[in-house]
């Protein structure tokens, strides 16, 4: 059992108070741990510069005598002894050329009823009650300008203890949560290991299957060469052709519909963009002479001045509507007729006849637009090229081929999955892989005109409250460390390394870089965004609490396996 820290400190304060009453009282502002330097009642020896000795009456006489400031523990007389001060030779007592280092961490506030603390010397007797460090108000003992700081330690101490208790509780909860996260992370990792084992087996099976299907296909092909092909419906070539043509037409129709949909979408996006730009042109600040903006406006003006792309032709749209209808007796081609037609013509005639059955607009369209558009789309990689035509194959071969292909595809998928899972195992998920358990978990915070979102190991986002539009502030790249400067108990700046999740390549910033975010993690009970800042243009930082970075909880640095818990 251990006393809560607060009680422990109180006990110390109490005992030292008793101790000091036995001997001469400590000079004002001296902490118990420095009391030993102030015991000689005749001479004071500067703590870090023992060569300098002064009469004890010069201690706390509001004049700085020691090069390390140790003669003024209770005043601000030596507060200028700091690297931050523009010191002249005469400001350094003892004409000392060495680097200035204060011997004392600050003015010691006893804070009876709370825990003792140091307040920086520059705050002693400045007319402000610094209750945060000095709840007993002893920093303003000189009452400059009538300042009076009453002792508030009782109330502040009580509140602090309550908070401290809560903090302790919260830390315990956080630690529990962290353990749970570790378990979760371990389980997930084990799952992957298990999956890998499973996948390896599956792949073996699939490989065998592929082999079998390859053989099957070969056999069917052999057989096929000897057998006359037959079609499902009609038996003649015309019927076969009609079947093919129908498939082809349907395929083209689907493609056409897709192209049309894409066109409409592109069109509306273009329109939206043009509206944004024309608004931008009106609203930008011409006085704010940004070359990038000026160039953008100029290019926009040139663009807008060019011949306008004609709006969707209504007649054309009607044609498209017509074409889009399913073929049947009332529209397009009545395939029934063709599929059951007696075979009486040569193959070559058929094409012409087929064309004769198509509405002229369709023929023209297929020739002029769809084909060129489609080839354009294909060449630019938007649409996939259709498989090599296999229309001359029999159903049996096709089936066999398809079966093989699908099995090959699933084998490939399995292999990919295996590769991914293996890579995932190699990936850095932080100490003990704990962030595995947090991956893709999202938290958000309202700040000003935006809501900010952080999804662990995935990305960061800024969502405007005004427009509702969302902006990527970076995709996850790595887990790193960052140095954060904090104040230690002595009020000195110390550098502390913290885990930082780095997100890069977010949405490009207008006239700037791609957005990026550094998420600095702190120990806390909840996953929570505490603060978001834009450190420089489109470079953000987030302060996020999470139990995952609280100290402790790991067992020998390895993630506890779920079975260990059982």
């Amino acid at each position: 059992m251990r006393l809560p820290q607060s009680l422990f400190l109180l006990a110390v304060a109490g005992s030292s108070a008793r101790a000091s009453s036995d001997k001469a009282a400590r000079p004002r502002g001296v902490a118990p741990e420095f009391a030993k330097y102030y015991q000689d009642s005749n001479t004071f020896t500067c703590i870090s510069n023992p060569a300098v000795q002064i009469p004890f009456s010069a201690v706390n006489d509001d004049f700085c005598d020691c090069p390390d400031g140790s003669d003024e523990p209770g005043t601000s007389a030596c507060s200028h002894l700091s690297r931050n001060s523009p010191l002249t030779v005469a400001d350094r007592p003892g004409n000392n050329d060495e680097e200035v280092t204060a011997a004392l961490p600050g003015f010691y506030c006893k804070n009876k009823g709370h825990r003792p603390s140091f307040v920086p010397f520059q705050r002693v007797n400045d007319g402000i009650c610094d209750y945060e460090q000095c709840c007993d108000g002893s920093d303003e003992w000189a009452r400059v300008g009538g300042t009076k700081c009453e002792d508030r330690c009782k109330e502040i101490g009580k509140q602090w203890r309550k908070q401290e208790e809560q903090r302790q509780k919260s830390m315990n909860v956080a630690l529990k949560k962290k353990k749970a996260l570790l378990v979760d992370a371990g389980r997930q990792q084990q799952e992957i290991v298990d999956q890998i084992t499973g996948l390896e087996a599956e792949i073996k099976g699939a490989e065998a299957k592929v082999e079998g299907l390859e053989a099957e296909l070969k056999a069917v092909e052999e057989a096929e060469r000897k057998v006359v092909r037959t079609s499902g419906k009609g038996a003649g070539k015309v019927n076969a052709l009609a079947g093919l043509a129908k498939g082809r037409v349907n395929e083209l129709r689907d493609a056409l519909l897709e192209v049309r949909r894409q066109r409409d979408e592109t069109h509306s996006r273009l329109k939206e963009l043009e509206e944004i730009l024309s608004k931008f042109k009106v609203e930008y600040n011409p006085n704010f002479n940004d070359e990038g903006v000026k160039r953008a406006v100029r290019s926009w003006e040139d663009y807008a001045a060019r011949e306008k792309v004609e709006d969707t032709n209504k007649a054309q749209d009607r044609d498209l509507d017509e074409i889009a209808k399913e073929d049947g007796e009332s529209s397009g081609i009545n395939w029934e007729h063709w599929e059951n037609e007696e075979d009486g013509c040569k193959d070559s005639d058929l094409v012409y006849q087929l064309a004769a059955y198509l509405p002229p607009s369709l023929v023209a369209f297929i020739e002029d637009k769809v084909l060129s558009l489609r080839s354009f789309l294909e060449s630019s990689g938007i649409l996939a090229k259709p498989d090599v035509d296999s229309s001359s194959e029999s159903k049996a071969v096709t089936d066999a081929r398809n079966a093989l292909k699908s099995e090959e595809d699933s084998l490939k998928a399995l292999k990919n999955k295996l590769r991914d899972q293996r890579a995932d195992l190699e990936k850095d998920y932080g100490p003990a892989g704990i962030f595995r358990a947090l991956k893709d978990q999202c938290i958000s915070r309202d700040a000003g005109e935006y809501t900010y979102e952080h999804c662990f190991l995935d990305g960061t986002k800024q969502i405007s409250k005004k427009g509702g539009s969302s902006m990527s502030m970076g995709r996850f790249t790595r887990i790193g460390y960052t140095a954060v400067e904090e104040l230690n108990d002595a009020g000195e700046i110390v550098s502390v390394a913290k885990i930082a999740l780095e997100y890069e390549r977010g949405q490009h910033c207008w006239n700037g870089p791609n957005r990026s975010t550094k998420v600095v993690l702190e120990c806390g009970e909840e996953n929570e965004i505490l603060k978001v800042a834009e450190d420089e243009k489109c470079v953000y930082s987030m302060l996020v609490t999470t139990p995952a970075v609280c100290a402790g909880g790991e067992e020998n640095g390895h993630p506890p396996r779920s079975k260990d818990e059982l």
Partner: protein
């Protein structure tokens, strides 16, 4: 697809063109096409042509202006008469003239035009524009000093054709007026210092009707008489040509200073071309110049048409009181009969030529003879710098923008964490709700009061931006009231003028309207500007006014202000009228709570010093901009507006750490010390800068704080006698010709502190010019520099500010670093004493509550410290008032903790104590003295420990 084909052929070519354009045109440059050259300004061209014509004719030129002797009257220090202009058509134009002689020693020449004065003219286009020449500039500018001289008399010994007036101190000044052609010569002690119309460039474009179809019959270039277009804007000029021009010669003067604001050297350059000279006149037409260029006579945000001419032993000056667009040409000519003579005694005359687009000739003439005399006399007329609140002279932290109230609180906390003092944090325009002034963005600043309370906890302040453009939007109460009360500026047709600024479509408050000020005041009350607290102060920006879609980024000249004055008439005072209204508003935001306002203004005119501080606008993070800031601040100082500064760090772009650190080391010498940065720059608050630069910057800021007692004393001096707070070399050593053009080192008030900030990259020594043969001591290690008329090399490693103290001074300091300057209020003082050749030293100290006007009723401490015959004494030089005793009581516990005597007599080695005699003490006491010997060119020093004499008391310390 078809359409794209030709384009694709052009694309590479186009991109090549764009690329080349990029390489050729530097990214950062003022947009020259946005601002007029003299050639593009009708009246500038006309007046230059007039001067060229006159000069071209040489001796045969005769100015067509005569003072009609029959009209001359002299009464009560004022000479009146009628100046007759004979036109080419032999018409006689009557121009009433008054030459007033003032008790202060200044003289004032006023010339108006009878016809316009009487309204006997027609204004074209049915315009409502006032027919008179603008005669109200003085209403905004002049606050005193107009008392007529009681001693001025006509000199009985005047030759025929001349009238002579004796005036000034002991009537040692004389104005010699030649009737025909008209000329005025100002003499002091029988020597001519200023000549008016000596070159015959006097030009008053009289009113004439526009005669259709008869262009060019006058024989003059009439192309710019009736209409002028620039940058797509057309000026309707309803009153036709009306400019005024006058040449002012300073015989035997080689240097002229003043007429800010220009990004140029302190000593003004010639403007009629030639190597090292400008091609255009110095222009004064307050403008929002984007990314202004350096070493240029181009106009900037503010203007003060006050020029000083200086030569060994004499300073004289002129103040051209005209609010319209004004240009000044400067030409220097050898006065020697042999122009090739380069001998040392060859004299140079400086010829200046002033012309304004409209208004009267209203010229004040000052005959010095010292720079201090000019500061004093000019200040009597236009007012002295207001004594600012104490926080205003400490460090200001600004950025466009601190984005939320939490952001502000965090910056505040960070300064404390790193123990860097600061007093004021600023909010640029983004704090507003949709750029509507007097509102807070509800999303980013939901709790402005909490923010201000947090700042108040360490007695810090907030400054927010309030601009004169009011968003033109329904349901915005300020816009509604502006319009319902009819307080907006009108366009030429008399409708409310609508232009573009930050909020988009906006209207401008017309502070020329007497009803505007009470309304503007009401907007600043706590119950109307909701969320504002007593520690909130105001920044008036964009008040040139800046209008994004206006000609030269400002208002059309034919816009109409209250009284139907055209914008052309009032442009240069326009910015100041807003400051005036804000000043009135901030004086008493709540009944009974009267405090000194603090306002920062970008636009200004003569007189703005009474109400505000200024800064040099949107500079850039370059070494050149750092360098130019010193002459700009110095020039503003000698022109009567010393509360000046430049954005520390540079507004546009990111300074590297070396530049930033050096800028802080320089910025602590600006009377107005504020760091500011553009919204696209990286954050650069001092604590964010990595070591060792953070320490270097902290030391610089703390040095400013340590010397605040000296700064405040210098501000006080400026507020009572107009002396600059930081002073250029010529001002301190007016007899040392070598130093006249030096504008890269400066003196802080009367303290003897001489700083020369490093403004060049990778420079680690600097040359400080020393004018006299006193010793100068390095501020930090007491190294001795001595030798008159020489430059002395002073080491300037990056962590060191080149700073010397002249021998003979008592410099007051406060050495204890605090969070803000207000918290230093009760701290003891340290005195640094440097003894001159005679073993003597002097200094002064002024202290008050730094906030109220109690000082006007004696609520202050003003002491003179003298070191004579081994005794340092403190003497009261204040005047007791109703508040004196009360203030002294609050300061009773504030004492002197340390006296450092630099370079004391060697005999002090054996001294160990001093005797202290304080008034009212029953017996003398002693304090210990310790002598510290230094060698190697460094002065020894002695330190008196804890004399503990009261700062407000009379005492002596006997060494």
């Amino acid at each position: 697809m078809a359409r794209s084909r030709p384009a694709s052929r052009w694309t590479p070519l186009l991109s090549l063109v764009v690329l080349i354009a990029f390489i050729v045109a530097p990214g950062l440059a003022v947009k020259h096409e946005n601002f007029k050259t003299c050639d593009q300004s009708g009246f500038c061209r006309r007046n230059r042509a007039y001067a060229d014509n006159a000069s071209g004719q040489g001796a045969s030129w005769s100015s067509p202006y005569e003072l009609d002797p029959a009209t001359i009257h002299f009464k009560d220090g004022q000479l009146t008469g009628v100046l007759i202009k004979t036109t080419s058509a032999n018409e006689k134009v009557h121009l009433p003239l008054a030459l007033s002689f003032l008790e202060s020693g200044a003289a004032r020449l006023l010339v108006d035009e009878e016809k316009r004065l009487k309204g006997d003219v027609e204004v074209r286009h049915g315009s409502k524009a006032n027919k008179k020449r603008y005669d109200e500039a003085e209403k905004w500018v002049i606050v005193g000093g107009l008392d007529a001289s009681r001693s001025a008399t006509l000199n009985a010994q005047s030759e025929t054709g001349f009238t002579k007036v004796l005036y000034g101190p002991e009537n040692k000044f004389e104005a010699i007026i030649r009737h025909a052609p008209f000329e005025v010569e100002f003499q002091r002690d029988g020597q001519t210092h200023i000549q008016l119309n000596h070159q015959g460039f006097l030009n008053m474009e009289h009113w004439r009707p526009k005669v259709e179809g008869k262009d060019g019959e006058s024989g003059e270039d009439e192309s710019t008489w009736w209409e002028e277009s620039f940058g797509g804007n057309t000026d309707s000029k309803p009153r036709g040509p009306e400019s005024i021009g006058l040449d002012i010669t300073f015989p035997s003067y080689n240097h002229v200073f003043g007429i800010p604001e220009h990004a140029d050297s302190l000593s003004l350059k010639e403007t009629r071309g030639g190597s090292g000279n400008h091609e255009n006149p110095y222009r004064m037409y307050n403008s929002d110049v984007f990314e202004y260029e350096l070493d240029s006579p181009m106009t900037l945000y503010g203007s003060i048409p006050f020029m000083q001419a200086h030569r060994k032993g004499s300073t004289v000056g002129v103040f051209w009181l005209n609010a319209a667009e004004t240009w000044v040409d400067i030409v220097k000519k050898s006065a020697s009969s042999n122009p090739l003579s380069m001998s040392a005694n060859s004299k140079t005359n400086t010829h200046t030529h002033w012309f304004s687009e409209a208004g009267r000739i209203d010229l004040f003439v000052f005959l010095g003879p010292t720079p201090q005399d000019l500061s004093k006399t000019y200040g009597e007329l236009t007012g002295y710098t207001q004594l600012p609140q104490h926080f205003a002279i400490a460090y200001h932290q600004c950025r466009w923008n601190y984005v939320t109230d939490e952001d502000v609180k965090e910056v505040d906390a960070k300064f404390d964490k790193y123990q860097i003092p600061y007093d004021v944090i600023w909010l640029d325009l983004e704090y507003t709700d949709d750029r509507k002034y007097f509102t807070w963005d509800p999303l980013t600043f939901p709790n402005p009061k909490g923010m201000q309370e947090k700042l108040a906890a360490s007695e810090r302040k907030l400054v927010v931006l309030i601009d004169p453009h009011i968003k033109n939007k329904e349901n915005y109460y300020v816009s509604q009231e502006l319009n319902s009360k009819g307080l907006a500026v009108l366009n030429k047709d008399g409708e409310v003028y609508d232009g573009w600024c930050w909020p988009g479509s906006s209207n401008w408050v017309d502070c020329f309207n007497p009803a505007a000020s009470p309304w503007w005041s009401s907007l600043h009350k706590y119950d109307r500007f909701k969320g504002s607290m007593p520690n909130l102060f105001i920044w008036n920006d964009m008040n040139e006014p800046s209008v994004f879609n206006g000609p030269e980024t400002t208002m059309p000249k034919d816009n109409l202000h209250y009284g139907n004055w055209e914008h052309r008439d009032v442009h240069n005072v326009n910015g100041m009228t807003l400051v005036n209204a804000t000043y009135q508003a901030m004086l008493e935001r709540k009944k009974g709570e009267v405090r000194r306002p603090f306002i920062l203004t970008r636009s200004y005119f003569a007189g703005a010093q009474r109400m505000s501080a200024m800064w040099t606008g949107d500079n850039q993070a370059t070494w050149d901009h750092l360098a130019i800031s010193l002459p700009m601040v110095l020039n503003n100082g000698i022109a009567g507006f010393p509360f000046a500064g430049a954005d520390v760090g540079g507004f546009f772009h990111n300074p590297d750490r070396d530049l930033l650190a050096r800028w802080y080391q320089a910025g602590i010498w600006y009377p107005f010390f504020r760091a500011h940065a553009h919204i696209d720059t990286r954050r650069r608050e001092p604590y964010l800068i990595s070591e060792p630069h953070r320490t270097i910057i902290s030391q610089a800021i703390r040095l400013r704080y340590q010397l605040l007692p000296a700064w405040y004393t210098a501000f006080h001096e400026a507020s009572v006698n107009g002396t600059p707070i930081v002073r250029p070399q010529y001002y301190v050593f007016p007899d040392d010709e070598e130093g006249f053009a030096i504008d890269d080192q400066l003196y802080l008030g009367d303290t003897g502190l001489l700083a020369k900030p490093v403004v060049k990259e990778n420079t680690f020594t600097t040359d400080i010019y020393i004018a006299d043969d006193e010793k100068y001591y390095d501020y930090f290690d007491f190294t001795i520099y001595q030798g008159a008329g020489k430059r002395h090399t002073v080491p300037a490693p990056e962590d060191k500010i080149p700073l010397l103290i002249q021998a003979g001074h008592v410099v007051p300091r406060r050495d204890r670093p605090r969070r803000s300057s207000a918290l230093m209020r009760w701290d003891p003082y340290t005195f640094v004493i440097t003894l001159d050749k005679n073993g003597e030293a002097d200094g002064t100290l002024y202290v008050d509550d730094g906030e109220t006007f109690n000082y006007e009723r004696g609520g202050y401490i003003h002491r003179r410290f003298q070191y004579r015959d081994s005794i340092l004494s403190s003497e009261d030089i204040g005047t007791n008032g109703a508040k004196t005793a009360e203030y002294l009581k609050t300061m009773a516990a504030v004492t002197v903790e340390r006296v450092i005597v630099v370079d004391p007599p060697a005999s002090w080695k054996d001294k160990s104590s001093v005797t202290i005699i304080e008034d009212g003490a029953k017996a003398g006491s002693t304090a210990s003295l310790e002598y510290f010997e230094q060698k190697g060119g460094k002065a020894s020093y002695a330190v008196v420990k804890s004399p503990n004499v009261g700062i407000g008391k009379t005492w002596r310390i006997e060494f």
